[in-house]
């Protein structure tokens, strides 16, 4: 790994020469230079310079799994909050139930939570989500907490390594939505430990060797481990 420093950059900070590098996410080009457009962490990979935002709402990408909260049932669709700048539309054709016109409330009502997938993001940023997938459903029980969407990759870990650890030691069911919402179910203490652990991962997301640190902490708290 080495002593690589993670660099925080601010909007308008100059990052590189546009002739030598390619402008990736979170950057803009002007006068032959690549600049950061958001407060974030700069990464340089494969000739690209990217800036990953430290804070901000979820930026929906087609195919992402997200946790939504139903805002409004309408005649043949629902408006769902997915922590993006815009609400997402869930059409009756995109749910596994046979919903009659005007009967949407019977299935999903204001305040219900769902595991959904982002189906489409169009040019005007109009969002559509779907429940038609094996792993998607209406959520019952448990608790949802909010984290910064930018921290989700760290919470999941490489190939799910971090979140698997947390599940193993707390015996809780956990689902991490790309949109910064995490669903947790289990016994009280397990849930409390999960929340604490996730907060710690959020705060120290840039620490190397965090996975090992978290494992040590979890081992201490866990009653029995299989």
């Amino acid at each position: 790994m080495g002593t690589e420093r993670r660099e925080i950059v601010i909007p308008s900070q100059i990052l590189g020469d546009a002739a030598k590098f390619k402008a990736g996410r979170g950057t803009f080009v002007e006068g032959g230079n690549i600049y950061a457009e958001r407060l974030g962490i700069v990464t340089r990979q494969g000739g690209y310079i990217n800036v990953t935002a430290v804070k901000g709402r979820y930026d929906p990408i087609e195919g992402d799994f997200v946790i939504g909260i139903v805002e409004e049932p309408m005649a043949s669709s629902w408006l769902v909050n997915i922590n993006a700048p815009y609400p997402a539309l869930l059409h009756v054709n995109e749910v596994p139930w046979d919903v009659e016109f005007g009967e949407t409330e019977r299935y999903l009502n204001h305040g219900d939570s769902i595991m959904a997938k982002v189906l489409q993001v169009d040019a005007e940023k109009k969002l559509q989500i779907t429940l038609k997938d094996r792993n998607l459903y209406k959520i019952k029980g448990g608790l949802i907490i909010d984290v910064e969407p930018s921290k989700v990759p760290r919470i999941i870990g490489k190939k799910g390594s971090m979140i698997s650890l947390v599940k193993k030691y707390t015996r809780c069911r956990i689902f991490v939505g790309q949109n910064g919402r995490i669903w947790i179910d289990g016994d009280e203490e397990g849930i409390a430990t999960v929340i604490q652990t996730i907060k710690k991962i959020e705060e120290e997301s840039l620490t190397y060797g965090l996975t090992n640190q978290i494992e040590t902490l979890l081992k201490k708290d866990a009653k029995d481990v299989h």
Partner: protein, 260 residues
């Protein structure tokens, strides 16, 4: 509008039935409170109160004006509250809505009816000129329990206010004449459980709310029940007891922070 997931409400109810709150507090326990007086140089008195993540700033301005016709020898006081859009994604800009008005009036009554400000001593020329005290409450960050945070901020500001006599060429500045203030404590009820100093999440699911202001003798000086649920008589008695106990603690902290 911010939306709350129904399962969050269910979770809070489940916890409450086991005698627990989401942040680990006891039912009658307050969050961390910080009281900082004298933070606004332009105001005659001011204070910032942080209650958990809720932040409120109160400022006192004074002016000379005419008394009310039915109390020609008394000073005048007026309380206003602003739920500025800064403090929550749900606060809109514009004239105060009912929540802001209720907040201002409840804080006002707690101060006015108990005679915290000794208005008899604020007369300059009977029937002609009296001191007017403006209490302005600014909510900066909303995370539950605005009533108590606002009330504490207003009191801390008043307790450190100097009457600006010099500016009006009426002598030297002097401390605003006050009497020992009552301290208000707010509780909410949800699913048969009553908790004190509600967090934002607990307020979201509250069915009924009760604010009780008590004085140094443990007497009740003001009360306000809000929201469309109900309390039993027993619950009210419990709330009064908890409010008196917590009122004492809050008063001690208030006095400490204003340097008494």
């Amino acid at each position: 509008m911010t939306i709350t997931a129904t399962i969050k409400q269910d979770y809070l109810v489940k916890l409450a039935q086991k005698g627990k709150r989401a942040d680990g507090r006891a039912f009658d326990e307050y969050r961390n409170i910080k009281i900082e007086p004298g933070i606004i140089s332009k105001a005659e008195g001011s204070a910032r109160v942080t209650l958990g993540n809720t932040q409120v700033i109160a400022g006192i301005k004074m002016d000379v004006g005419e008394p009310y016709p039915d109390s020609p020898d008394s000073g005048v006081m007026s309380t206003a509250a602003e739920l500025i859009p800064l403090a929550s994604p749900d606060f809109e800009a514009g004239p105060p809505r009912e929540n802001a008005i209720e907040l201002a009036r409840v804080v006002d009554r707690g101060i006015r009816e108990s005679g915290v400000i000794d208005v008899e001593k604020l007369c300059i020329e009977p029937g002609e000129k009296v001191w007017i005290v403006f209490i302005d409450i600014h909510i900066i960050d909303y995370d539950g329990n605005l009533f108590d945070a606002a009330s504490l901020a207003a009191l801390a500001a008043l307790l450190t206010t100097k009457v600006p006599a010099e500016r009006f060429e009426l002598g030297e500045d002097y401390p605003l004449p006050l009497r020992e203030p009552p301290i208000s404590c707010t509780s909410v009820k949800f699913n048969g459980v009553v908790v004190m100093d509600p967090s934002l999440d607990e307020e979201d699911i509250a069915e009924a709310r009760l604010t009780v202001a008590t004085d140094t003798n443990g007497d009740i000086r003001a009360m306000q029940k809000g929201l469309n649920g109900s309390f039993t008589k027993e619950e009210i008695q419990k709330v009064i007891k908890a409010s008196t106990d917590n009122g004492k603690k809050l008063r001690e902290q208030l006095n400490r922070n204003i340097g008494k």
